[in-house]
């Protein structure tokens, strides 16, 4: 039966690709060599120099194209944006007031440092990476992800070089309890799953089409795919559902020899000696572990894919789209919008020894990142040029954390275990994230919520209670003006405009019960676009 499954799977993947193949054949040409160039060695520059060069690359292009960029973001817009992007959280009312009232000319740079130093930074990136590393599918229903989350958060917070983190993930062995990094292989058990995932996440390439036939758009041949997959051919991962039933911690080992044809091996599988992508075949003894050799090639400074894929993915996290879009589809016919910028950032990332905090600091220090989300003209600018910061929907995790912060922990919340897709340790946050998650491959700039989500935000206990921020505002505010200020700072990270102040104070004044009126305002702010979007 497993054989049939794979037959079908192969057939279907082939079918999906038929159309693109036809288009390619019609073009009547075969690209000779599309392999990327190595990343050139470059001396590490000061962060300020790199930031300046990024901005001048963009500025020169926009000037040549006569595109007017948006002006700088207001302090309030920058504040909320940088909190959400670096820590996944919105600032508290105190944090917002302190930043807005500071007259320090360096306050933006200092805030970036402060956020990078906070433990929330590592937790936020771990949250995002767990979702990338562990696909949400039924095979993983019994797999615990908390150990991986804790491990990743620690790596990010200690600022371990990305090359080392990825090496640890790629070469991990032992039980999940001993080494949480094995979770990656536990979550991607089949040879094609792990191959596709490694290519997408760390090399910025979608190789899955080449699994069954030569890739129509790129130069990837089916042999390239299976020769690359061969690096994982000796890995054995425990069945996580069975381990969970037995109460064991599942583990990963790399065997001394190839395991032979396993039941889950795709029909298209070809037994080939390991070979790097568009690179040479390493001299390997059959009994030596393959994965360390692969990790060494993949994270080498000159690797043509790794650094570019990483800086592109990080850029996309902050801007809502990559220099190459989609982020994991980097090839010759899908060139970056600012090739010089991508090269500069990749070279400097390598020059700074794969330092992720350096990368975040550099990106968030640019004028491009600190631009306003208000269009310079009447309409939003072309999002591909980074002339304006797009308004980004919060991720479901960010939205939950923002709600939890303004509402306060709510003991009345219960969650039913869903019949399909339940995971162990299914908690309120995970339930919320599952309910609010759209398609994983969707454009991150697309608003993904639907009617049930709107109903939940309008009419659940959670949003109708007298939320924590409102309680604080009522306790601390001596005048209606101060109460309103506190609500705005705690929820939207800014103070109200004059017009808003007049409107809301009048609203409170006209109502018989001021407390109800304040609850109405709290509700309206919480349900607003401004609350659920990152500007």
């Amino acid at each position: 039966m497993a054989q049939t499954r794979w037959n079908m799977r192969k057939l279907a993947i082939a079918t999906l690709c038929v159309l693109v193949t036809a288009a390619w054949t019609a073009m009547g040409e075969v690209k000779s060599q599309t392999a990327q160039q190595r990343v050139a060695r470059a001396a590490a520059l000061d962060t300020a120099q790199v930031v300046q060069r990024i901005d001048s690359i963009i500025y020169d292009y926009l000037a040549a194209e006569k595109v007017k960029p948006s002006g700088p973001a207001s302090d309030a817009d920058f504040l909320r944006r940088v909190y959400l992007d670096i820590t996944g959280r919105i600032p508290t009312a105190e944090q917002a007031a302190a930043f807005l009232d500071s007259r320090d000319p360096d306050k933006r740079a200092k805030l970036i440092e402060q956020l990078l130093a906070s433990p929330e930074y590592g937790r936020h990136f771990a949250d995002e990476w767990v979702r990338l590393l562990v696909p949400r599918n039924s095979d993983n229903r019994a797999l615990r992800t908390q150990p991986l989350f804790d491990w990743l958060a620690e790596q990010f917070n200690q600022n371990r070089p990305w090359s080392e983190i990825v090496t640890a993930l790629l070469t991990a062995k032992g039980t999940q309890q001993e080494n949480p990094a094995v979770t990656y292989f536990l979550a991607n058990q089949n040879l094609d799953q792990i191959t596709n995932s490694v290519c997408r996440l760390f090399l910025g390439n979608q190789l899955q089409c080449a699994q069954c036939h030569n890739h129509p758009f790129t130069n990837w041949k089916q042999n390239d795919y299976w020769a690359f997959a061969a690096f994982f051919s000796k890995v054995r991962a425990d069945n996580t559902v069975r381990a969970a039933k037995l109460g064991n911690s599942p583990g990963v080992t790399e065997m001394a020899r190839f395991l032979g044809r396993r039941p889950n091996l795709p029909e298209s599988y070809k037994a080939l000696p390991p070979k790097f992508l568009a690179g040479e075949s390493p001299q390997l003894r059959p009994d030596e572990p393959y994965r360390p050799v692969l990790a060494g090639w993949l994270t080498a400074p000159e690797n043509p894919y790794f650094a570019r894929a990483t800086v592109n993915r990080w850029w996309a996290k902050f801007f809502g789209r990559g220099l190459v879009n989609t982020v994991d589809d980097m090839h010759q016919d899908n060139p970056p919008v600012y090739p010089e910028l991508l090269e500069l950032l990749a070279q400097q990332f390598v020059g700074h020894n794969f330092d992720l905090k350096w990368l975040v600091r550099t990106i968030t220090s640019t004028q491009a990142y600190q631009r306003s989300s208000q269009p310079a003209g009447d309409r939003p600018a072309d999002p591909t040029l980074f002339a304006q910061m797009p308004v980004k929907p919060m991720t479901p995790a960010q939205l939950f954390d923002a709600l939890a912060q303004v509402v306060g922990f709510n003991r009345n919340l219960t969650v039913r275990k869903p019949a399909v897709g339940a995971k162990p340790g299914f908690n309120i946050r995970e339930a919320f994230i599952l309910a609010f998650s759209g398609d994983e491959a969707a454009d991150p700039l697309d608003y993904q919520a639907g009617i049930p989500h709107a109903l939940r935000l309008m009419n659940s206990q959670m949003t109708n209670a007298e939320g924590l921020v409102l309680q604080e505002a009522l306790r601390r505010g001596k005048t209606p003006e101060e109460i309103l200020d506190w609500l705005y700072l705690g929820m939207l990270s800014r103070r109200p405009t004059e017009q808003e102040r007049q409107r809301f104070l009048a609203y409170v004044g006209q109502r018989q019960y001021a407390r109800n009126a304040w609850a109405d305002i709290f509700w309206a702010l919480l349900n607003s676009s401004e609350f659920v979007l990152t500007r």
């Binding site: 039966m1 499954r5 057939l11 279907a12 993947i13 079918t15 999906l16 159309l19 693109v20 696909p135 599918n137 039924s138 095979d139 799953q193 899955q208 589809d329 989300s373 208000q374 269009p375 009447d378 309409r379 939003p380 308004v391 929907p393 869903p418 019949a419 399909v420 897709g421 759209g438 398609d439 994983e440 491959a441 969707a442 454009d443 700039l445 697309d446 608003y447 919520a449 639907g450 009617i451 049930p452 709107a454 109903l455 939940r456 309008m458 009419n459 109708n464 405009t497 017009q499 808003e500 409107r503 109405d520 509700w523 309206a524 702010l525 607003s528 676009s529 401004e530 979007l533 500007r535």
Partner: protein, 422 residues
């Protein structure tokens, strides 16, 4: 087909909110009035009765009396000469002229999660690295009317597979408890206060949009407008089962599944295009006969009342009712436990199709003497889904484009819809 069917969610939102923002300043609820009154083309609807766990075909609709592992139940004749079904479906037996039994189901997935996914989407889980839309989301996308205030796909009693790459507009609205209706549909404050809140919200929205002109803000406003409209719509009353006399609920069996089927009928009556009702418990590795009997006794009155009510309302011709699980069960009986059971069996099993304009009163496909393999007219998962699409008037060869730009057919190549039904 509606000419207005949005190509993508983003375009849909732009289309609709361009209207309110460009023309009207009196509030975003006008959006709903501004949507052109589309011609009300009558599309078909579908009710999927999902028998979670995999019902035993040999103990329901493909009985093999006289064989070694025939089991405990007796076949009974039906309103159609020559067709026999289990004795525990006496009411349905009298309606067999509306029912087609497909006895040649043969799929390849024998594990629950993968089989559920496969039979809901027509694709193997994980195939090509995308999450595929379930049949309910496909029907929502193809047949829904953009002016309709309710979601076009409602799932009762269980969370099910959703829209995948089709996006949130086609996600199911999940009703956990049929007697409680849509969660969060009622405001928690008085109608007057809720209106005050909505007014405040509208002002905030206009201010934000004036400043940022963001498509995401437009989409947010559209979704809220639709949600508020749903709260206030007369159609939302369809979710309130307390409006049905007790005698009607009794006719459906007085069970949670019966209530769910009644709710499905009410939803289809007002224009919901796809309702999925889940009845769990069919995974009868142990105690097969007691449990299948109890489950059959829940299904029989509910499905029969549903057919009769749809017929009485003139909706049976336009409503396809599907009864199915993710696979069948072993032809032989296991005696591992204290009570006999049957295990997973995807190689040969049965489903029912009722109404929707099909030719009822027939059996399609045939299994061998033990019900172990299909010997006549095998039906793959692709054939089955292509058949459902064809009955509902959906071109199953149509290609969608995923967010990554890959073309994917509604049903993959190689599907042959069952012509005998049409």
């Amino acid at each position: 087909m509606h000419s207005f069917l949005p190509v993508s969610r983003r375009e849909f939102c732009q289309l609709t909110t361009a209207g309110i923002m460009g023309v009207s300043t009196s509030g975003w609820l006008d959006i709903l009035a501004l949507r052109a009154a589309e011609s009300q083309t009558k599309h078909k609807s579908c009710i999927l009765l999902w028998m979670d766990g995999g019902p035993s075909h040999k103990d329901t609709f493909d009985m093999k009396p006289g064989t070694k592992y025939a089991g405990e139940f007796k076949p009974i004749p039906t309103s159609v000469p020559g067709i026999h079904i289990s004795e525990h479906f006496p009411k349905l037996a009298r309606l067999m002229q509306h029912v087609a039994i497909l006895r040649g189901m043969s799929t390849g997935e024998g594990a629950h999660p993968r089989a559920r996914y496969y039979l809901h989407t027509g694709y193997r889980e994980g195939q090509g690295g995308v999450v595929h839309p379930s049949i309910g989301s496909i029907v929502s996308k193809e047949l829904s009317n953009p002016d309709f205030p309710l979601p076009s796909f409602v799932a009762i009693s269980a969370r099910t597979y959703g829209a995948g790459y089709l996006g949130p507009r086609h996600e199911p609205l999940v009703i956990n408890d049929p007697t409680r209706g849509v969660e969060n549909l009622q405001a928690l404050v008085s109608a007057e206060r809720f209106q005050d809140r909505v007014s405040l919200l509208q002002e905030l929205e206009q201010g934000f949009y004036r400043t940022y002109r963001s498509p995401a803000a437009q989409a947010h406003q559209t979704m809220y407008a639709r949600a508020v409209e749903l709260m206030r719509s007369k159609e939302a009353k369809a979710f309130d089962l307390s409006q049905e006399p007790a005698s009607v609920r009794q006719r459906y069996g007085g069970t949670r599944f019966g209530d769910s089927c009644l709710l499905a009928r009410r939803l289809v009556e007002i224009g919901v295009k796809f309702v999925e009702v889940t009845l769990g418990g069919w995974d009868t590795h142990q105690n097969n006969f007691v449990r299948v009997r109890q489950l059959s006794e829940q299904v029989d009155p509910a499905i029969s009342a549903l057919i009769e009510d749809l017929k009485a309302r003139g909706l049976l011709e336009s409503t396809l009712v599907v009864w199915m699980g993710e696979f069948g069960r072993t032809p032989h009986i296991n005696n591992r436990g204290p009570q006999p059971g049957r295990d997973h069996w995807p190689r040969a099993w049965s489903t029912l199709l009722i109404g929707g304009g099909i030719r009822g009163g027939q059996v399609i496909g045939k299994t061998d003497a033990e019900g172990a393999t299909v010997v006549e007219r095998p039906i793959s998962a692709l054939d089955f889904l292509a058949t459902v699409c064809t009955i509902l008037g959906i071109d199953y060869n149509k290609q969608y484009t995923t967010p990554r730009g890959r073309p994917i057919r509604i049903v993959d190549r190689g599907a042959n819809p069952i012509k005998e039904l049409l």
